[in-house]
């Protein structure tokens, strides 16, 4: 079974239309929780889009729905024109809790190869891909180690390598660097951009870190508070070549950052009930 699929040229790779997610009441007599009321946006092939929002805004819920791990209550969710009804074959997810997402009883290389094994790839092919992927994330000689022997940042790299080896069309990342120290986070952010450019994969990156979202993304989607709607959709018109030092001190970076920060402050008070925007506001 080949994992490589050729992208359709002009249609968006991910379509989210009127997405709604309601969690049923946990106890009889309790209240149902409307996590997401109405989310509508599209993602084009090869884009790097960041999603930010206040805590509790349903970012993880959105990601899980797109990942096919959670069934939506309403709305349309399509990946490459097909409805998402379960984890799609051409999608890979990197979770925040790297420590719990990697299997501690397998070596790093075995962890990276496991999805490929399940997909039926030959031993040689698995080995080639996993070695390549580990090299790409800078862990060329960590293959025979166990995940718990590595630092947090390195473990997250393994999780990324696992996703890369899988050769997905679209890569979802759920606040992957939230639990990692600042220095490591900077390295990992650059790693994500590097891989994105090299592999031409579409990336959906959920984060609560505004700086990170502006630094990484071509677009930043700001979510409102619960019940969530799209608060704002900001195009990041920073140059393509980004650098931790120069980009972050760029005037435009500060403007965009400021704008998004203000949006989030607004979003904290805004819910789907009070929001006056699914506005696309150019800055």
């Amino acid at each position: 079974m080949s994992l490589d699929t050729t992208p359709t040229a002009s249609s968006p790779v991910l379509v989210v239309e009127g997405l709604r997610k309601v969690y049923p009441a946990p106890t009889p007599g309790g209240e149902a929780v409307e996590a997401i009321r109405d989310l509508t946006f599209t993602i084009e092939q090869g884009q790097l889009v960041c999603i930010v929002g206040p805590s509790g805004a349903g970012k993880t819920t959105l990601l899980k729905c797109i990942a096919g791990l959670l069934p939506p209550t309403g709305g349309k969710l399509e990946l490459e024109g097909k409805r998402i009804s379960g984890p799609p074959r051409t999608m890979a997810v990197v979770f925040q809790e790297y420590g719990r997402s990697l299997f501690p009883w397998m070596s790093v290389q075995a962890n990276v190869e496991l999805p490929l094994k399940s997909a039926g790839l030959s031993k040689a092919e698995r080995h080639t891909r996993s070695t390549e992927a580990l090299e790409a994330v800078g862990l060329a000689d960590a293959g025979s180690k166990y995940p718990w022997q590595l630092s947090g940042g390195m473990q997250q790299r393994v999780a990324i390598a696992r996703a890369v080896a899988y050769r997905p069309q679209i890569l979802l990342m759920d606040e992957p660097f939230a639990a990692v120290d600042a220095q490591t986070r900077a390295d990992l952010e650059d790693l994500v951009r590097k891989l994105w450019k090299e592999l031409g994969v579409t990336v959906l990156f959920v984060t609560h870190d505004i700086d990170e979202s502006v630094y990484l993304g071509q677009r930043v989607i700001v979510l409102s508070n619960r019940p969530t709607v799209v608060q704002d959709d900001v195009t990041i018109d920073l140059p393509d070549e980004r650098d931790q030092l120069t980009t972050r001190s760029d005037a435009r970076f500060t403007e965009l950052r400021h704008h998004i920060y203000a949006e989030i402050q607004r979003a904290k008070g805004n819910t789907g009930d009070t929001n006056d925007a699914s506005q696309r506001r150019a800055v």
């Binding site: 791990l69 719990r100 997402s101 399940s118 166990y146 718990w148």
Partner: protein, 257 residues
């Protein structure tokens, strides 16, 4: 120096106890208590004879079969029951009941139903010692980490792969804890299953000694049982250390942080 210290720790208390024992048999000779020398001598005479083939080996063989059986049944059914919530809820009270029945109590029942033969004896061992393995497996399967489950779902792992690479290894620490408990139960049941209507086996032989007031022989039998128990514990410890080496490493790292 360190080696010497470990060695001393290993033998001091036992040596002191043996010394006290020996002294008490000199000071106060008792029919019921053989001297250490007597015991060792009797031990060798009694068990390293044709009794070894007639009684010891068959008993250990049945024990072995029983242990394997309880592990296999326990793990297989544990996985089944742990994986399907409805099944578990359905069976839970029944399992609680059967597990609470003192296993020796099943012996007369099984004797009637199955007759008195080695199959019945193995069955008694399995019936009594399967519970810790079964229940621990169920718990281990249920407690599979949510993030790991989502990871395997998102990468579309096949059902068999999920079982082999996620569920079983994740539950392994729990399962091993259950196996350890079941080992001691199995040994007890092996002895008990040989106390009635049998004419061979370790348990039978030891009781015969007691009935015939062959005291040193009786004690040598108790000693042998203790050694078998110890042997099982040692084998288990090595097996556990091998199977769970990832787990020990992981805990080591967690402890240091």
């Amino acid at each position: 120096m360190k080696l010497l210290k470990s060695f001393l720790y290993l033998v001091s208390l036992p040596a002191i106890l043996v010394l006290l024992w020996w002294i008490s048999t000199i000071v106060n000779p008792n029919f019921y208590v053989p001297t250490p020398a007597e015991l060792v001598g009797t031990f060798v005479d009694t068990w390293f004879s044709d009794r070894f083939w007639r009684d010891v080996l068959p008993s250990i063989g049945r024990l072995f079969l029983g242990v394997i059986g309880s592990i296999v049944f326990g793990v297989v059914f544990g996985i089944l029951i742990g994986s399907f919530r409805t099944l578990r809820r359905l069976l839970e009270p029944l399992l609680e009941f059967f597990r609470a029945i003192p296993p020796p109590v099943m012996l007369p029942l099984l004797m009637i139903v199955m007759g008195v033969n080695w199959r019945m004896q193995v069955f008694v061992i399995i019936f009594g010692s399967v519970w810790p393995v079964l229940l621990n497996t169920v718990e281990g399967v249920r407690a599979t980490d949510e993030v790991q489950r989502e990871t395997s779902r998102s990468y579309r792992l096949t059902r068999t792969d999920r079982l082999r690479y996620l569920i079983l290894p994740a539950a392994a620490p729990q399962i091993m804890a259950g196996v350890r408990q079941s080992l001691s139960i199995a040994l007890i049941l092996m002895v008990i299953s040989e106390l009635w209507y049998t004419s061979s086996g370790l348990g039978f032989t030891i009781v015969q000694f007691q009935r015939n007031f062959a005291i040193p022989e009786m004690w040598s039998g108790i000693l042998l049982l203790g050694l078998i128990g110890l042997g099982l514990a040692v084998i288990f410890r090595y097996a556990e250390r091998y199977i769970l080496r990832w787990y020990h490493g992981l805990r080591e790292v967690q402890r240091e942080s």
